[in-house]
Symmetry: C2
Subunit: 488 residues, 2 copies
């Protein structure tokens, strides 16, 4: 924005005008979102075909761009913010978060160092300390202790950073210098998120050195299987360095037994990282904190406000109990970044807590959310979502045709029609093709399972009730046509 009339920049007054247009566009979008098909119906290549082959030589009016958002972009959107979005885990958002993101973009701060915007660093540290209290996390994760928190883009990146710190610790700080030697081993349950395998590959440890530990009938890690694997690897001359446990797996929201896993990792000197990407938000309600019992034995932990805490993607909160271990693994200090504040040792430079160097003013939108809702508002909506999912689970249980695949601990219901995998596959395709809701699937115990996750900001009783009505009706229709035969 410039006061130069001759420039190509948007003037502040033009920005005020167009800014209002975009704000109104978004408000309108949320008002009409339930009228749009949740899952986009475009065919591959359709969006590109509607875009000009060549970039514009000359400036275009802002109105033309907004017009194309409506005509070209919106048909290609799968509406994550629709209250009828029940797929994957949610990536919910809220007015407060959207405006926090807008302000962060307007300030245009790059907070790689404390000195490059002290408020960017200090607000982040402060909000992550707040969250330790809000979620009942171990006090060791606070910056006033030896730990501290940072915002990463995703739980994938948090897992990678934790693994790198673990790798350095297990090798006596030699892996950064000399590289990996094929002897390090990592552990996660067979139900752990794919990001653990990805991190193990990236870090040069190798997928063959990731032990996928067996799970029990609730799809939670069997701690005795972890202990046996570690013993076996040590006997083979390998170096166990890292274990990932999950509070709320992606497939089924299974909760690994942290107290037992934590005790094993402590005894063996293995870094324990806990991933609570979605379920972590539930801990804002004291009645759900039992799920994270044992977290005080973890070396690191993350959860994603961008999943269920009304904070638009991306926003992953990551804590370590020993910040020095993390910084040692990721620190780089070239001449052009040296400055007095860094040299004083009195400040945090978040560049050393993440893979990239640069960073946005990441905490601003989360601070907006916490202040807008207050703890009471967050609790209200989390409780409501859990209640709605539990109600849905009861309807499934009461139905003669459907069954639960596992008992849902929180807001994710895994269920299936009793007619088998092919039937459930077909049911899922037809439901999603209707445009009126979006569900995804997983496999549990080798069987195809439907997943319904209640977590979008505006999902209310009527949406969940209507989803169940549609699922029952579509299944009845499919039964009448004759169930498809098994493909497996």
């Amino acid at each position: 924005m410039s006061d130069q009339r001759t420039s190509f920049h948007m003037t502040p007054d033009q920005f005020r005008k167009h800014g209002r247009e975009v704000v109104d566009w978004i408000a309108d979008y949320y008002e009409r979102i339930e009228s749009l098909p949740v899952l986009s119906r475009v065919e591959p290549g359709a969006i590109r075909a509607a875009l000009p082959a060549d970039p514009p030589r000359d400036p275009e009016p802002f109105a033309a761009v907004l017009r194309d958002v409506d005509s070209v972009i919106v048909p290609g959107i799968t509406h994550w913010q629709s209250p009828n979005f029940f797929a994957f885990f949610p990536a919910n958002a809220s007015g407060a978060a959207i405006l926090g993101e807008l302000l962060a973009a307007g300030l245009g701060v790059q907070g790689m160092l404390w000195a490059t915007s002290p408020a960017c660093t200090e607000l982040e540290t402060h909000v992550l300390d707040w969250l330790v209290d809000m979620l009942g996390l171990p006090p060791a994760f606070k910056s006033s202790a030896a730990g501290g928190g940072v915002i990463e883009d995703s739980a994938s990146s948090a897992a990678l950073c934790a693994l790198l710190a673990a790798r350095e610790r297990a090798t006596g700080l030699r892996s950064n210098e000399s590289g990996c030697d094929g002897r390090l081993v990592a552990y996660a349950s067979s139900q752990a998120h794919s990001s653990i395998e990805k991190a193990v590959k990236i870090a040069g440890i190798g997928r063959a050195n990731l032990r996928l530990v067996d799970v029990d009938e609730a799809f939670a890690m069997r701690p005795e299987a972890l202990a046996e694997a570690i013993t076996r690897d040590r006997a083979a001359g390998l170096v166990p360095c890292f274990a990932a446990a999950t509070v709320g797996t992606t497939s089924s929201n299974a909760v690994d037994p942290l107290p037992e896993i934590g005790r094993i990792c402590r005894a063996e000197g293995v870094w324990l990282h806990v991933d609570g990407a979605m379920a972590g938000t539930a801990a804002v309600c004291p009645e759900f904190r039992h799920l994270q019992a044992g977290l005080e034995l973890a070396d690191s932990y993350c959860f994603n406000p961008h999943k269920w805490m009304f904070t638009n993607f991306d926003c992953d909160c990551f804590w370590v109990a020993d910040r020095a271990a993390l910084v040692r693994a990721l620190s780089i200090l070239p001449e052009y970044l040296k400055n007095r504040a860094t040299e004083s040792g009195a400040v945090i430079d978040y560049r050393d807590w993440q893979v990239p160097l640069g960073r946005r003013f990441r905490s601003l939108k989360l601070w907006f959310v916490i202040r807008h809702y207050g703890i009471a508002g967050l609790q209200h909506h989390v409780r409501r979502h859990v209640e709605l999912a539990q109600a849905f689970a009861r309807w499934v249980e009461a139905s003669p045709r459907f069954e639960l695949a596992v008992r849902p601990p929180l807001n994710l219901v895994c269920f299936r029609h009793t007619a088998g995998d092919a039937f459930n596959r077909e049911l899922l395709e037809r439901l999603n093709a209707s445009g009126r809701l979006y569900l995804t699937h997983t496999t549990l115990g080798g069987r195809f399972v439907l997943r319904l996750c209640v977590g979008q900001t505006n999902t209310d009783e009527r949406h969940v009730a209507e989803a169940w009505r549609m699922i029952e009706a579509e299944a009845a229709d499919l039964e009448q046509r004759g169930a498809p035969r098994e493909r497996e």
Copy 2:
């Protein structure tokens, strides 16, 4: 946003109101930004001390949050968007980009898969193809060839992804499976960005296996030194896998000789990654494309629209000539992400082109910028910035007290007072303490050098002229007080 009056959510009407308030706040901010000290003056801990120790129990009015932005946050901001910001490389922004980011936050799309929002993926592919034409990049980088582009958060992440693809290629696709074995070697000049060293550590290759190749008097890589290092390593039984060259180093904007480096890498089967993080934007003007001659020999390339292309952080454009090599290195496909579009092979799933799984609608703001400015508008401002920097360099050269450390190829001027390192250090501290501009430093040839980079969106002739006037005046004042003695 919800229509439930009883909920804690912001209603669409409240969002319209508060959205206008934030839009106006940003417009006001840009109107007054020159009155604010560029480098924040707060002491460590001051921001946290002004924040409440505990998070709010109950919701707070939006006005209270915005009030605290003014009173608590703004004093802790180092104003990257001030036209008097000449430090590091810029992270510039524009009205169009800010509104694109706002819209992306409002849509709240998570584009990990094509299916989770086809427009998110296809617009990104399309805009990155546009940029190949706009910047005169090798056609092999286009998605219509065997290559393709993706938006990463930063050049650090792009370098890491390139290195991982290189690692897999050099090991016959064994490094992901079996881990690193200590034999891989990477190369970069001694002036390469710290992110290369960080990537080499993260990937398990080890800093000891990164050869920092010698540079010439212009701080550009000496290709014969690269060739010798590769030969030496091969003779020692090591496996050269990756070389990073830079178009515009962070220290001094030095340009590595890509044609020679590229020929060596091709002959040796070494993956060549080229980092044009800031300087890459200059190629929108044909007269600056000579700097990237030889890029057709590269396996991958990145530049950051979030530095000099008026697109707020984060936005790094990353291309590969062989997309299959990148996807092989980063692909993971758990059951819960399987879908028909992915299985058809007809679509791009950008999850496989990056470290994290999830991703924002990253291309939206870049599309807004390209359409708002057109190629003509981008060229206008890039040329203007280069002219201003070149004028500044002439003033330095004409001064009896100052000298250029190197001849500036584009918009970064490296210069120093002739009185030595301690004098220049003191000069820098005093200039930055004035609050009226912000410069940073580097060392070149062992000597302390001031850096002035012209790239903030609204930096115009008067800002650069005033910067030079202040530098001369502050130096004259310091000379009169007696130059500080050398500390080195």
